[in-house]
Subunit: 486 residues, 2 copies
């Protein structure tokens, strides 16, 4: 076992993710100013890199980003420094839209219509070459940051090749890869072209620690790895041995930063948004969902289950509003666009069938607006979180932290968050419309005392873990594989 002078806890940190915590744009005076990014990964990681010696490496997305890459810059109002990897637009498109979101996201969430999609061909080969090139650009940028022997924290399915490439450039680097998504089962992963599948598995094995949101995803990874040549796998011990190195496979379920979302909820903008939500609700019950508009979130079946509720329990007509806050997502990928159209059409159809002059059953807000979401969290009577599969799902935790009405949570058993919140939530199979409709009914009908008891349990469980403990767990795991010199 290689050893290293510092404990990971005391080492500099270098985070790599596709999207950074900020993007730089020129303001009216021509000055470069930082605009905050959104998305779960940035929220979780942003709050935790409170140290001066943290560097965040991300893909440049704006002209401003490109200007300061690879020099890098300190982020105002945060401790970390950010530097960008400048990837040619064409390459970025193949890497990001083609492979990461068009192929790997679908694999890990079981989203293909296997009889018809995917069909891999020359376009996939080109996009895969782009993915390799983008990952190599990241690895090179990270190698430059290696001089203080930092811990490298490589994020997600966009950067699966980076651990292996960085290992080649810096053989003694301490590297952790973390997947925020699920990880496809062994059989389903074989949908990928053979070469792609092997490269991804080998790339991830370049890390010392391969982290997932839950134990089952780590097992899926190891079951696939076991089929590679020259890798020894011990599934029970959650480890693999490759090129004489030990690789630990561990789970580190992410957590929400309570302080950050509470601050957002206390802002003036949030107060104004809350007034708007109150107007939508009126004197009715409010059913809420907050999601990226994206097939894994199961928005379509959520609407269909709500329709079934109105059919089976007609006394809810006029007495409940379903507010769906959907942020546009990955509209460059055709399957996402089609799904978005289906969702909106279905909501329109249900509204036309059941709506009255003074009651619109489903209110869809298609916008990127975290403040509005935070305001709505405060106000729901029930929240529906029904993903077909989900690594964790932060919405399921953010809602209960901020809700002030003893709101119920209807939660998919296939969300990683179910492991933490399941016993206080109403559990559903996300494919079962009857079960979902009945769970909504039960949530809205629930007696006050049971609602309150469950809501308290949800909040307690959501707050029991923090982004800081999530990070500390990862650094401890690094120390176990590469123990610091005594």
């Amino acid at each position: 076992m290689a050893s290293t002078p510092h404990s990971a806890m005391e080492s500099a940190l270098v985070v790599a993710s596709n999207r950074g915590p900020v993007s730089f744009e020129r303001d009216e005076d021509g000055k470069l100013v930082a605009r905050r990014g959104s998305g779960g990964l940035v929220t979780v990681l942003g709050g935790v890199l409170e140290r001066d010696d943290a560097t965040w490496v991300a893909a440049a997305v704006t002209e401003g980003d490109r200007e300061i890459a690879p020099r890098g810059r300190k982020v105002e109002g945060a401790a970390q420094r950010v530097r960008y990897v400048d990837i040619p637009e064409q390459v970025y498109d193949g890497y990001y839209n083609g492979i990461a979101n068009g192929v790997l996201w679908f694999a890990h969430h079981y989203l293909w219509d296997i009889a018809r999609t995917p069909s891999f061909g020359e376009q996939t080969e080109q996009e895969w070459a782009d993915y390799v090139e983008a990952n190599r650009a990241f690895a090179r940028a990270l190698a430059v940051e290696a001089k203080h022997d930092p811990v490298f924290l490589i994020q997600d399915y966009h950067l699966t090749l980076v651990p292996g490439m960085l290992r080649e450039l810096v053989p003694d680097a301490r590297i952790l890869h973390f997947s925020h998504t699920p990880f496809a089962g062994r059989t389903y992963l074989r949908t990928l072209p053979d070469d792609m599948r092997r490269s991804i598995l080998r790339g991830m094995l370049g890390a010392d620690v391969v982290g997932f949101q839950g134990r089952q995803w780590g097992e899926n990874f190891l079951l696939s790895v076991r089929e590679l040549d020259d890798v020894h796998v011990d599934i029970r011990a959650h480890r693999a041995e490759v090129d004489g190195r030990e690789v630990q496979v561990r789970s580190f379920p992410v957590a929400v930063g309570a302080q950050e979302i509470r601050e957002a909820a206390a802002s003036d903008r949030a107060k104004r948004a809350r007034a708007q939500v109150e107007k939508i609700r009126g004197d009715r019950k409010l059913l809420l969902r907050v999601d990226r508009l994206e097939p894994s979130k199961n928005i379509l079946r959520g609407f269909l289950a709500f329709e079934l509720l109105l059919q089976k329990h007609p006394d809810w007509r006029g007495r409940v509003v379903f507010l769906a806050l959907l942020s546009p997502s990955r509209e460059e990928v055709p399957a996402y666009r089609d799904y978005g159209t289906d969702c909106r059409d279905t909501a329109d159809r249900i509204n036309a069938a059941f709506g009255k002059e003074d009651w619109n059953p489903i209110v869809v807000k298609l916008q990127e607006n975290f403040t509005y979401a935070v305001a709505a969290y405060d106000q729901y009577d029930a929240m529906l979180v029904n993903p077909v599969h989900d690594g964790m799902n932060l919405v399921a935790m953010e809602g209960p932290v901020l809700n002030s009405r003893g709101g119920s949570l209807i939660l998919s058993r296939n969300a990683g968050a179910f492991g933490r919140l399941g016993r206080h939530a109403l559990a559903i199979n996300p494919f079962d419309l009857s079960e979902t409709a009945e769970a909504i009914h039960e949530a809205l009908e629930m007696p006050e005392d049971e609602r309150t008891r469950r809501a308290r349990g949800l909040q307690r469980s959501a707050l029991a873990h923090t982004p800081a403990t999530w990070l500390a767990g990862q650094l401890r795991a690094i120390d176990e594989v590469r123990p610091p010199a005594p």
Copy 2:
């Protein structure tokens, strides 16, 4: 461990499967005559039950079957007796079309378009009740056959509850359940309604031995079983312990009966069919596929890969014919019908785009005709077997046994048969059109000596196992769990 007076090898056998080896119909004189069934299961099992003390229990499908159920009757020209389970038509529809082929087949072959299908609701609940009722009817019929302490061989996804139900009726019964299909991974299986998934797993655990076509499916089963309460699982030892009983999970890859298919190939009808195939081929190369018209067989991508071949290697235009022998399948299930339409439309489109007066690139024969298939096996230069997932795939073995032209086999890595034939075949990822098109090109271009060498290897591997050894392996496994008294 319970022990039993006889070895399983010397015990009476009772086979249960949805479809029996024959169906009875009245001829012109009003006499009940047996008509042979088709399908892989019947072919494999039919040849092996050569013993007087074998009974085959199947669902009645004709009026004739209903007349003789449950009395049963000896099958002319075969050793076994057959008896039928009379299931009301409505119940049969829910059990067979609704759950078995509409839900479980899709689960085990990963065929859902997860963002949109399935959506379970009241109809599923009714169909599931039908499935339970049909399985119970089978279990009762089997219990009647228990008096001579036979070995019960329960077949496939139609009858997953039977082992558990039969165990309740006959606690000491020796029971084996065998899946001819793949078995869905743990995550994908969670698509099923919870109650359905648990019932199926528990039902199968009613057997002493749970058999699959390959080790990976058995592991998938055990990984799901491990999540049940009160079951102890040892994945490495491939066993489970439930209610104080031991359950062994084993793989028994099926084999083809060479004699039976060789006899079919030697018939006069086969000779006439061969002349027809020769006419279709002319002086061109013949690419063949033989399949049920069904989404898991990946017929659509097969046509698209052939189109890609004609685009990338235009010198093949006019020099190769793709003969697709497709037998209609499960047309009561809408997704199958839609898939069939897509396949035919795609073939028509390609023929319109590339065809000439004297050359039709793709010839689709939509018919149930085993003799014709057997005749075509003799004649192909290359055969395409590209299922998205497949428990075994008998076509991949039948073809090489009968082919007389040193024909090549292009074989999906996701077919169970790949484990047996893979090193002599051209391996493809069934989702990769480029790889499939290039493999067809390589197969048709292959030098004579390599073709011959591979063809011999394929035949040798296909014949290395027989249905008799397949059955014997199962009976030995039964003896291991319930050893005969010395």
